[in-house]
């Protein structure tokens, strides 16, 4: 077992920055090719006219999840050393709601706003400026909200530990949800397209 590579001393802090840079390039490329530099495609998710974001995200989740699971099973990855943050359930739900509102209003999430800015879109740049302002405002107001920020801690928790099931069961359930969601998303897109076509016919007639 020799990965995560960083945790096994295969490279140090300086080289990890280079790797992060290369991964960032690949990630930005993938997002842009997936159309996520365009606010209309992102916001359309929430009007169910284009379910691209949902389908791409779940494809990525399932691919990474199956990859990590089987690499761990093969003894190549130590899952216990893969980093993830602690869970603070209520603040994180509230943060997710705020992010969701921002995504619908602005049409971007933080990563896609950077992609959009990199391709020269003004709205992406303005959204990014808003992010920096938001971070600054958060930092300045943190003493006022720190109690809430650290409330309802659940520690370092994973779904298998939370539900008392094996990793394999969670993998299976997530795959079923993803495949079901994918089929459902395509059905919704078709229905919305039909409805949109029917509405256009009414307008023309």
């Amino acid at each position: 077992m020799n990965s995560p590579f960083y945790k096994f001393d295969l490279f140090g802090d300086e080289f990890s920055l280079i790797i992060a840079f290369l991964i960032g390039i690949a990630f930005g490329f993938a997002l842009e090719r997936g159309g996520f530099g365009n606010a209309r495609i992102l916001a359309a998710q929430f009007y169910f006219t284009k379910m691209q974001m949902f389908k791409v995200m779940f494809t990525a989740i399932v691919t990474a999840m199956l990859g990590l699971f089987y690499l761990s099973w093969a003894g190549l990855v130590d899952l216990d050393l893969v980093y993830f943050g602690d869970t603070y359930i209520v603040p994180q739900i509230v943060g997710g709601l705020i992010l969701g509102c921002g995504l619908i209003i602005g049409g971007y999430c933080p990563g896609t706003s950077i992609v959009s800015s990199a391709t020269g879109r003004i709205d992406g740049m303005l959204f990014l400026a808003g992010i920096f302002f938001g971070i600054f405002a958060f930092g300045e107001s943190f003493p006022l909200i720190s109690d809430f920020y650290y409330s309802t801690p659940m520690g370092h928790v994973t779904l298998p530990h939370l539900f008392g099931v094996s990793y394999g069961i969670v993998v299976f359930v997530v795959v079923i949800i993803a495949v079901g969601g994918f089929i459902g998303a395509e059905w919704i897109e078709k229905r919305m397209a039909e409805r949109s076509g029917a509405d256009n016919e009414e307008v023309v007639s």
Binding site: L66, S72, Y83, Y167, F172, V175
Partner: protein
């Protein structure tokens, strides 16, 4: 089934593959990460309470004098501390290397550090990995210095205590220390690099597992 798969488009084939992998994952369960261990807490608690997990310094001194070498004595301190002075027959291995080393089954190990804390922690980790025959030198190096190298006879001691002290004087002399009486005891004398009165036995044949770094992001 034979006709179904070729008739699927690429997206459907990928979905079928993901479902197949998900089903297999459900049967695999949780991948073994080779790091989780099962602890029998009641057995550990019993060993601690009964005192069967410790070796007294006087017993160890006795074994060394008699040339009894059916154990591995491990010094968990830093290399610098080890080179300044160490208990004869000991080997300097850091706690992380002790855990990573594949010891022979049932090899008797005695751990010591400056006091008891590091040795106790390493003892617990070795026990958790399944090593049965591991002990802590009670009191560590501090106890060795106080009771073996520099034993002290209090001013108003009984005859029995004085007789024991005479034995302790000989033991202290054997290991290069010297006994002190209550009236002559001042500060702990500077411990010079002492020559070991016995030859160190050859290093233990062990395999070392590949070390890994545990760090947060």
């Amino acid at each position: 089934m034979k006709r179904l798969f070729p008739s699927m488009n690429g997206q459907q084939k990928l979905m079928a593959l993901a479902i197949a992998l998900g089903v297999i994952a459900a049967f695999i369960g949780t991948p073994d990460n080779h790091h989780s261990v099962k602890l029998d807490m009641s057995e550990l608690a019993r060993e601690i309470t009964d005192g069967h997990s410790t070796i007294q310094v006087k017993d160890l001194a006795d074994w060394i004098i008699k040339g009894k070498y059916d154990y591995g004595l491990i010094d968990l301190r830093t290399e610098k501390a080890y080179l300044e002075y160490s208990i004869p027959t000991s080997e300097n291995i850091s706690p992380s290397h002790v855990i990573d080393t594949e010891w022979m089954e049932n090899e008797k190990l005695i751990l010591y550090a400056e006091d008891g804390t590091t040795a106790a922690q390493t003892w617990a980790l070795l026990k958790a990995t399944g090593h049965k025959n591991v002990y802590v030198l009670s009191g560590g190096m501090k106890e060795w210095k106080d009771n073996i190298l520099f034993p002290v006879l209090a001013d108003h001691s009984s005859t029995v205590q004085k007789t024991e002290f005479e034995k302790s004087k000989e033991v202290a002399k054997y290991f290069g220390g010297h006994a002190q009486t209550g009236s002559t005891t001042q500060m702990m004398p500077e411990l010079q690099v002492l020559k070991s009165p016995v030859k160190r036995k050859p290093p233990m044949q062990t395999k070392t597992r590949k070390k890994k770094k545990r760090e947060g992001c």
